[in-house]
């Protein structure tokens, strides 16, 4: 298995771990019933913002650890640049990821049309972000294994 394939797998696993652990951390902090709307919006706003920051930092740390482990186990250096194949695969991954997120965004807006509670909209939106991240990594893995 090549560096890029391993990296895609690690990316999928780390995305799942980061999202699940963050959700488990934030779930008990959800403001209960009877609180002002501004409190609920504050919760969801901070949920999204801190999730973004947390996942960026966690991805960087996991990426560094992965590179160290890769060098130690294979005695091979990781590629330092992206060539035309990498760029093409990245474009396809971004396209799929973007498509999934836009679909989720539309569903989230649709939930508001059907008078669903506010938390349903945010949950769909956040889930769409998570699934789009996974879709991007899975697309990369697929194209690195099966070709373009």
């Amino acid at each position: 298995m090549t560096y890029q394939e391993k990296k895609s797998i690690v990316s999928v696993i780390s995305a799942i771990l980061i999202f699940v652990s963050y959700c488990l951390f934030m779930y008990p902090r959800y403001p209960g019933g009877g609180v002002a709307l501004s409190e609920v919006l504050h919760y969801w706003g901070s949920f999204v913002l801190y999730l973004t920051l947390f996942s960026i930092v966690a991805h960087i740390i996991i990426s560094i650890i992965f590179n160290i482990v890769f060098r130690l186990t294979t005695n091979e250096k990781e590629p330092t640049f992206a060539d035309e194949l990498d760029k093409l695969i990245n474009l396809k991954a971004f396209r799929n990821s973007f498509f999934v997120f836009v679909l989720g965004f539309l569903f989230a807006m649709g939930s508001l049309i059907f008078y669903q509670p506010l938390h349903v909209m945010f949950m769909i939106l956040i889930s769409a972000g998570f699934i789009s991240d996974i879709a991007g990594s899975v697309t990369k893995l697929y194209h690195y294994r099966r070709g373009v």
Partner: protein, 74 residues
Amino acid sequence: MGKNLVGNHIRKLRFNHDEMTQQQLADKVGVTRQTIVALEKGNYSPSLELAFRIALAFNLPLEEVFFYGDQTKQ
């Protein structure tokens, strides 16, 4: 995926050039080893520029390295 009509003789040519490694060829033409692996497996059709660079690395004309169609063996 993987049904590329552009084939190549890169593996054979590497062998004939003092058993050049995939990494050596990758360094010569400015791509990663993964791209050479994908080319040899027939999983990727290179850009025209990369095809020319590979042909130049072997000092051969383009048509002796790459072919179009079902010519899997020469």
